[in-house]
């Protein structure tokens, strides 16, 4: 039964994608603009870039891996900084009220707006890491704080009556209890961080990376390759998101909500 639904879902998906590509092709034909390639041209460009590479010789897989590597580093740093800070801020309301006036305006500054500062203060890989970090940091931080604040005080009291010290309470009660929120913060943060890759790579510096690929071919006015890059970014983002979702479902079997 579930099987049938799955197959049906896949068939429907294929059908709608087919229709989508068909309409796109029709529009491309009717406009006949050199700047709006149809799906067939994009497919050709995809094949070309995947195998023989771009104008500098880098292939699509190598662009993708480069971007994934950068995002992984920036995201890793975001996790390593935001989770401990979030736990700390969640535990101490005084730290929270002290840092809110600083953090709140900063979190509404888009990552791209940090580009000029990052160009001046950082270079090389660190700049990518910084720009992705700044995108991923706040979702993780805010979710961690929320998760920590939602820790049931009874559980903390329970541990205290067994003589647990505060580091035990943090690691064995507060952290596991906040973990579902932290994970969903990580998921959102990874999504945002991934979306910062184009911003991070548009500054330039290196010829590799999906964002760079897009900008390179936008400058060459070869929109088919630009679309290849966009689709690659969209699909990788999707896959990363579902990856974490799957981990969440595995990890939090004990949560009734996740099961439902």
């Amino acid at each position: 039964m579930e099987r049938i639904d799955q197959v049906k879902g896949i068939l429907l998906g294929v059908l709608s994608l087919t229709v989508f590509f068909f309409i796109w092709q029709l529009i491309a034909w009717s406009l006949n603009s050199p700047f709006l390639p149809g799906p067939y041209e994009v497919l050709q460009a995809f094949g070309r870039i995947s195998t023989t590479g771009d104008i500098d010789g880098y292939t699509l897989p190598s662009h993708s891996l480069t971007s994934i590597y950068r995002v992984a580093l920036g995201f890793g740093f975001a996790g390593l900084t935001a989770i401990p800070l979030g736990v700390f801020m969640g535990l101490k309301s005084s730290v929270r009220s002290l840092s809110t006036p600083i953090i709140e305006p900063i979190r509404f500054i888009p990552p791209i707006a940090w580009i000029p500062l990052s160009i001046i203060l950082l270079s090389g890989l660190w700049r990518y890491i910084f720009l992705i970090w700044i995108g991923a940091f706040f979702p993780i931080l805010l979710n961690t704080i929320a998760g920590v604040k939602r820790t049931s005080p009874v559980l903390v009291d329970m541990a205290k009556t067994f003589g647990a010290d505060s580091s035990t309470i943090t690691s064995r009660i507060v952290f596991p209890s906040a973990l579902p929120e932290i994970m969903s913060g990580l998921r959102v943060g990874l999504g945002v961080g991934w979306m910062c890759i184009v911003a991070a790579e548009m500054i330039g510096g290196d010829p590799e990376g999906l964002g760079r690929l897009i900008i390179k071919y936008a400058n060459l006015l070869q929109i088919d390759v630009v679309i290849v890059g966009m689709i690659a970014i969209g699909i990788i983002g999707l896959v990363l998101n579902y990856g974490i979702l799957t981990v969440e479902k595995r990890l939090f079997k004990w949560r009734v909500e996740v099961k439902a």
Partner: protein
């Protein structure tokens, strides 16, 4: 006004960020030539030539000061598209005016091999000239495309070993960060056409009179630069905010002239076809293409 309502007589002019090649534009504004000819102008600034040309094609600009190669590749790409605004060259802006600067220890072109060299973006005239040069010499480098303002900065931090860029970027690096000029664009390609003044073919059809006036303004401005080098330099310093030392050095690399040079544009186009930057024009179409691209009636 918040949305920039477009009045009929206002001409929209695109130019590039901090580009001394466009000194004629700043001189014309400074000297009030546009007002003199009854032209109201609106300036629009872009990070590099390809980006400017994308906006140009979609009809966002009437005139533009831009490098010849981006204009050529945009025209080549959009030639078959009736809706696009195709660029038509009505005057030259300058010849030469770019340079490759490098750090100590890179003193010959061969020593570029394997180094990390910045460019102001894929498809810019500097990028293309560098590619041509490297191909001829059979040298490979890692190209680092970035915005023009970033080039001297990254050089000073040591992220790149050198770069090619339009003035005053090479002169900034020379004066501020101890770079030296490895090759000027004169060495790469003597007397090559650099920036051109283009007008949209649709605009040209509808407003020949305005185009005529604009060309006149442009010619006057270039003459002013030739006749008054000191005050032109002052204008350049005011516009860019750079020191006299930088501007003097930069201006010494630029040749301001209003007469376009079709031959060097043909050479560019041949090379761009070879590089794979232009895919819609073949070598035997180059002459016809460039002839249609340039309209010298107004100069």
């Amino acid at each position: 006004g918040v949305i920039f309502p477009r009045e009929a007589e206002t001409v929209r002019i695109g130019h590039l960020t901090g580009d001394l090649h466009h000194l004629a534009l700043f001189v014309a504004m400074n000297q009030g030539y546009f007002e003199q000819y009854g032209l109201k102008i609106q300036l629009k600034e872009y990070v590099n030539g390809p980006t400017l040309m994308q906006a140009f094609l979609s009809g966002e600009l009437d005139f533009a000061y831009v490098g010849a190669p981006p204009a050529i590749s945009a025209r080549a790409k959009a030639l078959t598209d009736a809706k696009s605004h195709l660029p038509v060259v009505i005057a030259s802006v300058n010849l030469e005016g770019s340079a490759i600067v490098t750090r100590e220890g890179i003193d010959t072109p061969e020593e570029l091999s394997g180094k990390n060299i910045g460019t102001p973006g894929t498809g810019t005239i500097q990028d293309i000239m560098l590619s041509i040069f490297l191909r001829e010499r059979n040298i490979t480098v890692t190209k680092s495309p970035m915005s023009i303002a970033t080039l001297p900065l990254e050089f000073s931090k040591g992220t790149i070993d050198g770069f090619i860029g339009w003035e005053p970027a090479p002169s900034i690096a020379t004066v501020q960060s101890g770079a030296h000029v490895l090759l000027t664009s004169h060495d790469l390609f003597p007397n090559h056409q650099c920036c051109v003044l283009v007008v949209s073919n649709k605009y040209l059809e509808a407003h020949q009179d305005v185009v005529q006036k604009f060309a006149q303004v442009h010619k006057m401005a270039n003459q002013y630069i030739a006749n008054n080098p000191e005050s032109a330099k002052q204008i350049a310093m005011n516009v860019t905010g750079h020191s006299s030392e930088i501007i003097t050095l930069a201006l010494s690399h630029i040749v301001y002239t209003s007469t376009p040079d079709p031959e060097s544009m043909k050479t560019f186009l041949h090379s761009m076809i070879d590089l794979g930057v232009v895919t819609t024009v073949s070598h035997d179409q180059v002459d016809a293409f460039i002839n249609a691209f340039i309209d010298t009636r107004f100069i």
